[in-house]
Amino acid sequence: MDQKSYRRGSFQSSTSDEDMLEIAGASLDFTMADDDPPLDREMGGFSSYNGGGMNGTSTMMDFLEEPLPGVGTYEDFNTIDWVREKSRDRDRHREITSRSKESTWALIHSVSDAFSGWLLMLLIGLLAGSLAGLIDISAHWMTDLKEGVCLAGFWFNHEHCCWKSNTTFTDRDKCPEWMSWSQLILGHGEGAFAYILNYFMYVVWALLFSLLAVLLVKGFAPYACGSGIPEIKTILSGFIIRGYLGKWTLIIKTITLVLAVSSGLSLGKEGPLVHVACCCGNILCHLFTKYRKNEAKRREVLSAAAAAGVSVAFGAPIGGVLFSLEEVSYYFPLKTLWRSFFAALVAAFTLRSINPFGNSRLVLFYVEFHMPWHLLELVPFILLGIFGGLWGAFFIRSNIAWCRRRKTTKLGRYPVLEVLVVTAITAILAFPNEYTRMSTSELISELFNDCGILDSSQLCEYVNDFNSTKGDDLPDRAAGPGVYTAMWQLALALLMKVFITIFTFGMKVPSGLFIPSMAVGAIAGRLLGVAMEQLAFYHHDWAIFSGWCSQGADCITPGLYAMVGAAACLGGVTRMTVSLVVIMFELTGGLEYIVPLMAAAMTSKWVADAIGREGIYDAHIRLNGYPFLEAKEEFSHKTLAMDVMRPRRSDPPLTVITQDSMTVEDVETIINETTYSGYPVVVSRESQRLVGFVLRRDLIISIENARKKQDGIVSTSIIYFTDHSPPLPPSSPSMLKLRSILDLSPFTVTDQTPMEIVVDIFRKLGLRQCLVTHNGKLLGIITKKDVLKHIAQLANQDPDSILFN
């Protein structure tokens, strides 16, 4: 019973390692105006894929006039055939256009078909924006719930609770309506016992939230854990994971993301927001036939949805589009660029109208200052870039080692216990230090903000000399005692975050790593910035400072250093370049900071690439063995196609089907004995001349359907893949014509083709398999899994780590 789980129909198919893979390769495709692949001319035979609807000639009783339900769909954990999907979409479009001239109704139909893409983007933007607003408001509230509760209405968090009360500036945080837990229980908030009670309540709430999160994930939607971006990258490259973008995953991911963030764990919500937005995209695709039935078109929509997800996470629509282009998507034609932009725009607009933070901003840590920076400051910025690169490489290595340990040893058998232990450690270590007790977004916001006159936080406790203030600009000031305390507290917070994030990312709760990396970078940046500021204040007569930083001038802004540090660390971990810089300057609104941000991002990427080639998402893809053909790497070995193809010399010969001499029983035997996902069709076994390629799933569905519905099909009926068949003597059983499921134009290469070209073909066309011929005769087959194993072998990695089919 377990085998039948979520596969449609009654056919069994295995996902053993022998199956041929269908994985799409991809490239960034800027040269195409729409989604036509370059070798369009060779697609002539694909009209037969539409179930013979286009074929006028059929001398036999062709019951496959319409495609059977099930033909042309894919198994779970298989890859799609990009070429077939795209040609199907083109056929559908052609049919609609040609019919539109017939009647007004058909014209309306064709107009609505063209319009449906934009409508879908609008709906995705609306849904993603609303969900992001829900997540933001709930997370904001629940984070403060660990510390106290608001008497004026339990749904207010600390800041909103104290909004209307009449407190002075210095005591902004202590208003009578907000009661911490010790105040509520004991009646007073001072003293050692109150502190211990607060501590205890904090840890208890954190444990409760994370326990709830992991139980919901385990009970309802196990696919909702983790970040989601490596799996979405794989899905967008053509892989099918059923249920990964479903409605239960959406609901559970949204709910548990809030719980996980509120429990004080060192994780962020940006990566999971991309998953949430892609789920929205997938669910809304079912409303439109054009996208529901075609897997390639659906992936365009998912790319746009990913852009909308990043756009609401950071309040950066353009950054979101570039992120989708650079990190997540595989094929990205220009049409998708424009649609992603629209979806990101609508999502940002929806979120802004919900206004989760009360200041018309989309992100908690939006800052806006326009202080100039000096060219000599590029040196500390590059230092921050180097730090970011080093930290990124260190984090990736240790996180992958820890995840591998979780995957292979007993640690992986206790996910709930693991989450609870990590939460307990995080909460216990975080409470004493003020900077780790607050939520990470608030920490980043405080670090990014430059100190003004009215800022009363500990970090801004400078020695103020009111006589020398000129208007708004505060000069560089000497650090007061509060700043020194803040410095070592921040250093401790940095150490803690560096180590605890390694164990947190990848747990069985939704976890992102944008915010923790930005926090690490922001702390490092702020420390360096304050150090530079004090250096400039006390030694303004040094040669490097004297030119531009005289006494009383405001030359160094530590907030800017924090921003640059955050960008450097994020770049070191994810290896983003352009999208990172665009996101950061959309976050800060400071166009004059592009140069420092770019300098830091480039330096961190260079340093990190020198140490380890992959970003965190690619490393996780490799750890999980997803069949993802990397589009950015060059294949530089001199092997030939015949070295990679199957069957090898020692294997039994290739399993083929002949075009007109096999019975139904023979074909069923082949299907039952082998587990390949497709078979080449040849003219005859002696000549081995290629006719076409037929897929296992289509064969099974068609034969079953024929046995049930068509008269006279028995085990000795002959299967024909030809166009015309000879007339039979009346005593023999009727024939089964299966030409309509045959792919008449499979891709072939000769056995002497260099593997560089073969890998390029797989990437650019999105092939599942490629046939190998020698002197015109069929010799073997190369599947995408073979290509991936070959690449892994040449890179001295374990070729058996490529899982799935």
Partner: protein, 128 residues
């Protein structure tokens, strides 16, 4: 600024000069939005918890007495859809009423979640 800052840190004649140093920040929020969203969120969490409790505690108790029911004579006499749900999915059994369809969908969903759980938690094939 003249009305908001209480008490004024500077003497009366310098009040205006002091206020010129002020930065104006405009913030607004909607209390109803916050209330509505928090209430929605808490109710969804509550509903999910109740459903989980139901699935873990109540469901096996209801299903146990019907585990031995013959699948053959279920078609006509039974209003109780629970026992229909326990019969293995016979191809050809027509789930006609809404309750039967819901039951079938629930069974399918449970199997899906079990598969997912095996893939992620037990075999560590994905999302490790």
């Amino acid at each position: 600024c003249l009305h908001v800052v209480q008490p004024m840190p500077v003497p009366g004649s310098d009040v205006e000069a002091y206020c010129l140093l002020c930065e104006c920040r405009y913030e607004e929020r909607s209390t109803t939005t916050i209330k509505v969203i928090i209430i929605i969120y808490l109710s969804v969490v509550g509903a999910l918890l109740l459903y989980m409790a139901f699935l873990v505690l109540v469901d096996p108790l209801i299903r146990k007495p019907d585990a031995y029911t013959q699948p053959l004579h279920n078609e006509e006499e039974n209003e109780d859809t629970r026992s229909l749900g326990t019969a293995p999915a016979v191809p050809g059994a027509r789930p006609n009423t809404v309750l039967e369809r819901v039951e079938g969908a629930q069974q399918r969903w449970k199997r899906q979640v079990q598969e997912q759980r095996k893939t992620v938690f037990d075999r560590h094939k994905m999302l490790s």
